[in-house]
């Protein structure tokens, strides 16, 4: 845990360090990464779903530029479909379109107003629940000139949505004024096998997150000095072939050798000892003594 904190801190510092050199664009991207809740249905946001993420660091930057940038309000609609039926309006997103001094346009302050299900739609949704079918969502791929190149579609098994009411969670991936993708689903888990459960209240509890791309961490650039050292260390560790020590390589030969040597030593120690005690005079010519002993013992055996 500690290490991951260190890494996170490291990455943070790196990204902070890199911020000034990137100019305003990076600021802008960070601004986007806000989480907005929704309203729509009479129900208010449940307390635990209140977005906790906020970009306090960036706020001053935003203010600094607000006088330069012009805002305008835009709206785009969300369509839904039950199973394979056609798409029908389900709600509208409204947002502020910010035009930055450098020409880029982004959306902020996204609001979502969700239409309630009509009785007919409720019936259709019940059918979906029963057949475990898909509930589908559709957004234009460009918010300024809908539908843009094509519609963005997302689907979820209808049985994932009902809880107390109907909980839904949108993640909208943006690139300027283009919508790349929308991920639609339940805010929590949707365990398999999905069980049939009718919602207690036919009202939507919507959460919306607007996301744009993160900056990649840069490749670490070291100064010459550190590079030299670091490189050497790295290389050293690598080049150093996991060379086994002499002992690790040859232990199977060394142990028996050691045993033999030890054996021989004890023998050699014993030999003089015994000669010193047994045949005192013959000392100095042990071999001769042995030779003499040989025939002698043979004779005795006979």
């Amino acid at each position: 845990m500690k290490t991951s904190k260190v890494i996170v801190a490291f990455i943070l510092t790196l990204s902070l360090l890199s911020l000034p050199s990137l100019g305003f664009q990076s600021d802008e991207l960070l601004v986007d990464d806000e989480e907005f809740g929704l309203e729509g249905a009479p129900q208010t946001r449940s307390p635990e779903s209140i977005p906790t993420r906020s970009p306090p660091v960036v706020t001053p930057t935003k203010k600094r530029h607000s006088d330069l940038d012009s805002d305008s309000k835009i709206q785009f609609s969300l369509d839904h479909a039950f199973g394979d039926s056609g798409f029908a309006p389900a709600g509208t997103f409204s947002a502020r379109l910010k035009t930055w001094s450098h020409g880029g346009q982004t959306l902020t302050k996204l609001r979502f107003s969700r239409n309630n299900f009509t009785d007919e739609e409720k019936q259709k949704f019940k059918n979906l629940l029963e057949s475990d079918d898909f509930y589908r969502m559709r957004l234009p791929s460009n918010v300024l000139s809908p539908p843009g190149r094509d519609f963005i579609i997302s689907s979820v098994k209808a049985r994932c949505l009902p809880r107390e009411g109907l909980d839904e969670h949108f993640v909208i991936h943006m690139e300027g004024t283009n919508v790349l993708a929308v991920n639609y689903g339940s805010p929590g888990s949707c365990p398999y096998p999905r069980i049939l459960k009718l919602p207690a209240k036919w009202s939507f509890n919507s959460h919306t997150v607007l996301k744009s791309s993160d900056q990649a961490p840069r490749a670490p650039v070291f100064t010459e000095e550190i590079l030299g050292v670091g490189g050497e260390n790295g290389e050293g560790e690598v080049v150093q072939p996991p060379e086994r020590s002499f002992w690790a390589k040859y232990w199977m030969y060394l142990i028996p050798l050691g045993l033999i040597v030890m054996n021989a030593i004890t023998q050699a120690m014993n030999l003089p000892e015994e000669q010193a005690t047994g045949q005192g005079p013959a000392q100095g010519q042990p071999s001769a003594g042995a030779v003499q002993r040989g025939p002698g013992s043979a004779v005795r055996r006979r």
Binding site: S213, G231, P256, I260
Partner: protein, 952 residues
Amino acid sequence: MAIRHQQYIGKVKQAMFHTQKTGRKRVVVSTEENVLASLDLRHGEIFWRHVLGPNDVIDGIDALGKYAVTLSSGGSILRAWNLPDGQMVWESSLQGPKHSKSLLLTNFKIEKDNVALVFSNGRLHAVSGIDGEVLWKKDFEAESLEVQKIIQPPGSDLVYVVGFGASSQFEVFQINARNGQLLKHESAPISGGFSGEVSLVSSETLVALDSTGSNLITISFHDGKISFQQTPISNLVEESFGPAVLVPSSVAGIFAIKVNAITIFIRVTGEGKLEVVEKITNETAVSDALSISEGQQAFAFVQHAGSEIHLTVKMAHDWDVNLLKERIRMDQPRGLVSKVFINNYVRTDRSHGFRALIVMEDHSLLLLQQGEIVWSREDGLASIIDVTTAELPVEKDGVSVAKVEHNLFEWLKGHLLKLKGTLMLASPEDIAAIQSIRLKSSEKSKMTRDHNGFRKLLIVLTSAKKLFALHTGDGHIVWSHLLQSLHKSEVCQQPIGLNLYQWQVPHHHAMDENPSVLVVGRCGPSLDAPGVLSFVDAYTGKELSSSSPVHSVAQVIPLPFTDSTEQRLHLLIDADQHAHLYPTTPEALGIFQREFSNIYWYSVEDDNSIIKGHALKSKCTGEAVDEFCFDTRELWSIVFPSESENIIATVTRKLNEVVHTQAKVIADHDVMYKYISRNALFVATVAPKASGEIGSVTPEESWLVAYVIDTVTGRILHRVTHHGSQGPVQAVFSENWVVYHYFNLRAHRYEMSVIEIYDQSRADNKDVLKLVLGKHNLTSPVSSYSRPEIITKSQSYFFPHSVKAIAVTSTAKGITSKQLLIGTIGDQVLALDKRFLDPRRSVNPTQAEKEEGIIPLTDSLPIIPQSYVTHALRVEGLRGIVTVPAKLESTTLVFAHGVDLFLTQLAPSRTYDSLTEDFSYALLLITIVALVAAIFVTWIWSERKELQEKWR
């Protein structure tokens, strides 16, 4: 460790025989793979070889004095090569004002200097053969001229440049070959227009076809005067219908046309009169002319007759005389002859002998001489499209005995040979035979499964639509088969092979069946062309069954289900988004219906930059009842804004990858859970401007965005932008990580990045008490519809090479640590430990992290010369790297293919589960024996001592 390296050259485009009278008989060839090679005429071995880059297409080769010259890169580079050793002598760059056809002519001399005349890029150059200096050049820029031929009448200083100008003008330029001066320019309009090639029948006569292809035009331009003569083909051939095609050749007085697959040889007599000399109904290939003596030309043609081919060599001026007529039996079906090159030699009886080099439909190269195939090269293997593997049969008792009895004679012969060898009586041929027998009987090339799983069959599909089975033991070809179902036919005009799939892998039941593979092909390059399926037995290469052109095939999805005979279920998606189930059996349908709602797939529209997710809907509602056809529906879509992002790479995990553990224990004894999903897709997009070559954009205008997408719900799991970076992107996805390679314009260097994805939803399972009480969610099924709680870690490093391909090692159980296999620009394969691409690397790792194996962070990835898997070898034209797990957990087989093939075994963590090959068993035995001896000696010794003690 066993290494297999095989060298190929590819399909031969042009061949040029040495005319030297020295004993060395060689032929220089240029190929479709842009290889220039010198082959031995006796054995077909490669003497030397040069692989020019993929963008350096060879337009022509010819002999220039004692050098071979090649014209390449659209006629802008002329190189001379020394014949004996293949050294480049000089290189000359020929620039011109506009792009045009490139022509090469070399039989011209200026004062002992051989001069090459090159027409390329709208300019005629004369290049000195000594040093490649451009002697003179002449522009043909002003005229909208489509040059067809440059002609150099023998024994004169003139060069004719002939071609078609605007509004069907025929133009002749007469040029002084010594200084490039334009002497005369004549042009004449022709009413019918021209089409296609022209055929040169003499130095001042051409034959062309008019634009309808039904009239032959004889053009003569004697002394600058142009005269035409039109002859309707129907006058020559009664039953002619349909347009004719001129067969490119340059034989004096004779040319050939093809009408409805009939080849007609026509002689031009005197004043442009045409006369049919022979009609051949079989498929035929014609060679160029070969001058055998003063003023005499010979040429050859080959025709098919069943499994035989007939080679005929005729004199150009006398059709009735056959210099040679041979029938050659083909050893195996190789399709049609696509090219013939002839060469003559003087026989022992001083008469003319001819040998022919023929290129077959399967890209193999054969040398024919005296009615036999002297040698053959399987050069189709230089263009592999797809690779799959098959296990060898299990060794059964009795089989080997039967084989021995069957080949009793050969067995005896083999022993006799061996006896000869030991008695030193063997001739060189005998020794070669003994060696081949030894190779055959050796462990490595056995046709049965081995304990370690090193012996397998690699089944490869080549662009010539031929299947080969290669043995991983020694790399020999076990069988090869030219696919009949992918043969060109009426219904299937331009068949191409697409992919190979393991169709049937006998496993637990159905052990008696042979494994089989599915070959998917298509009739034509467009996506909606009808598809062709073929099922091939992996042991014998026999085509078990095949389907005639069916629905189109846009995508093939192997499903994770098999039927009772272990046939894998495959879903084929056609261009109209209908899904077709294979095999078409009721049993497969039953299995499929059970999983009907759990099948998802995605499609990528590259040119449109849209990714879509699909699921099945219902049975097809077409007019024809087909219970194996299903309608589909679109579930999700991701539309990349066309003005800012283009898809350049998509990568998924390998289907058969095995992951050993889901958890990763990190340094402080904490556990991280890998996010392992079969449905993750890596997508890389770049700014449209940055799609070009590296350096064509400024860093401000280019960016690269990396995505990880769940393909069931279309959820973007991770999205990250690399500013100032551009493609080409090479990527590999394995377990929970993806590694990708791209170019960083700001740093002017290549970079590699890693993204690792961890699952946070399982992080609560660390509590031991919970585990004991069973209150964990480790066994609950994972659903893509749950909102994923994931964290990603990523890091980037500089990498000094550009990369052609990346793969990752795969082992049987996934325990062994992984290595990345990187195909470098130098056509080598580099093994890089995945540890170097660990996003948790930091500058100063703690002691605990060091113990875990984390390497201190460096800004670039090290390239250790010892970690080149290919050692000193090069896999020329490297295109792909395939890894196959062996049964032994520590080892994986690596197969790299390009123009060359390379196969080796790799143990990323060294062979911890077996002794290495160089382990000295002898030393171990000696040690044991010595130990036992020592024990005895000391035992006797001590016995004796004890005895003495007792006597005392």
